[in-house]
């Protein structure tokens, strides 16, 4: 049995099921990160002092540039499929995957620097919320890389069988990836600058 409404839109919603599905998932993600941002506000407003300059602004800014660039390459991967250019799509998707990897490598160096100085999440309230927020965000990066890896590898076969469904799948992956970028856009000033 075929899964219904993967390409054609449902008459009642005007959407393919996957599109509505990914947006509902992202809505739940907003609440997940929202709860942590809310916790951050409580911890910060309730603390007597809040550290400044504990994190490398440059490393944070470089990671922001990397994630923004990866959002551009991700949307280009989808647009290339819309233009029927699978070769370019593949190039852009691999580029997005690599940029995600570079982001994680930077994050590894940041974490390692803190941990070698004994500054783990137990060290202070600030580092506790910093590791929680960036750790959860990092897990989302890993999740995105797994999905992208699938579409670079075995999942790419669908392009030949059903190009429209494949294009939709890449669009949904993109929606998730832009959300991960969006979260970082707020994490960067909140943790690194303020």
């Amino acid at each position: 049995m075929n899964i219904p409404y993967t390409v054609e839109t449902r008459p009642d919603t005007g959407l393919a099921n996957g599109k509505l599905g990914i947006w509902l998932f992202l809505a739940s993600e907003v609440m997940l990160f929202g709860a942590l941002f809310s916790s951050y506000i409580i911890l910060r407003t309730g603390s007597v002092e809040w550290p400044h300059g504990e994190l490398s602004v440059w490393l944070g800014a470089i990671n922001t540039v990397i994630l923004i660039s990866s959002s551009v390459t991700m949307v280009m991967a989808w647009a290339s499929l819309k233009l029927n250019d699978f070769g370019k799509h593949r190039l852009y998707l691999i580029l997005t995957f690599v940029l995600a990897g570079v982001f994680l490598v930077n994050k590894y160096f940041e974490y390692a620097d803190h941990l070698t100085r004994g500054e783990g999440p137990w060290h202070s309230t600030f580092l506790a919320i910093y590791f929680t927020l960036t750790g959860l965000h990092g897990l989302h990066i890993v999740g995105g890389m797994i999905v992208m890896g699938y579409f670079i590898g075995p999942g790419a076969k669908m392009w030949k069988k059903n190009p429209e469904q494949f294009t939709n799948r890449i669009e949904y992956t993109g929606l998730y990836w832009h959300f991960v970028d969006l979260v970082w856009i707020f994490l960067f000033p909140v943790l690194y600058l303020l």
Partner: protein, 117 residues
């Protein structure tokens, strides 16, 4: 798929421009942070305004929210409402009086009056 090729090519130009604008805003965010704007609250406000502008661009253009179906707008409207409630939860810590000696002031005043006698 070929019919909307011109439309997609136009969108690609928009994606590139938005990508460039996001990078410029990142530079502005870092630059503004180097300047003390009078108070920490002012710096926080400016940084969050810039972040909101960047976030809106990602959502509207990259996530195609500028032209989506109403079912998605409906779901997101609910999400925004609950998100606002979530962000307002910290306000409860201000109105929380548990542990605050609310009768301390009147009883101290009474004690003072007693001593005067």
């Amino acid at each position: 798929m070929h019919s909307d090729a011109a439309e997609i090519k136009k969108s690609i130009r928009t994606y590139m421009m938005v990508g460039a604008a996001l990078l410029v805003f990142t530079v502005i965010t870092v630059a503004v942070n180097q300047v003390h704007l009078g108070s920490v609250a002012m710096n926080v406000t400016v940084a969050l305004i810039i972040a909101s502008m960047k976030g809106s661009m990602v959502a509207a253009i990259f996530m195609h929210l500028s032209h989506e179906k109403r079912w998605i707008y409906g779901a997101l409207l609910l999400t925004v409402a609950f998100f606002v409630v979530l962000m307002a939860v910290p306000l409860l810590t201000v109105s929380d009086t548990i542990g605050t000696p609310i009768h301390a002031a009147p009883s101290a005043a009474a004690e003072g009056a007693h001593e005067a006698h």
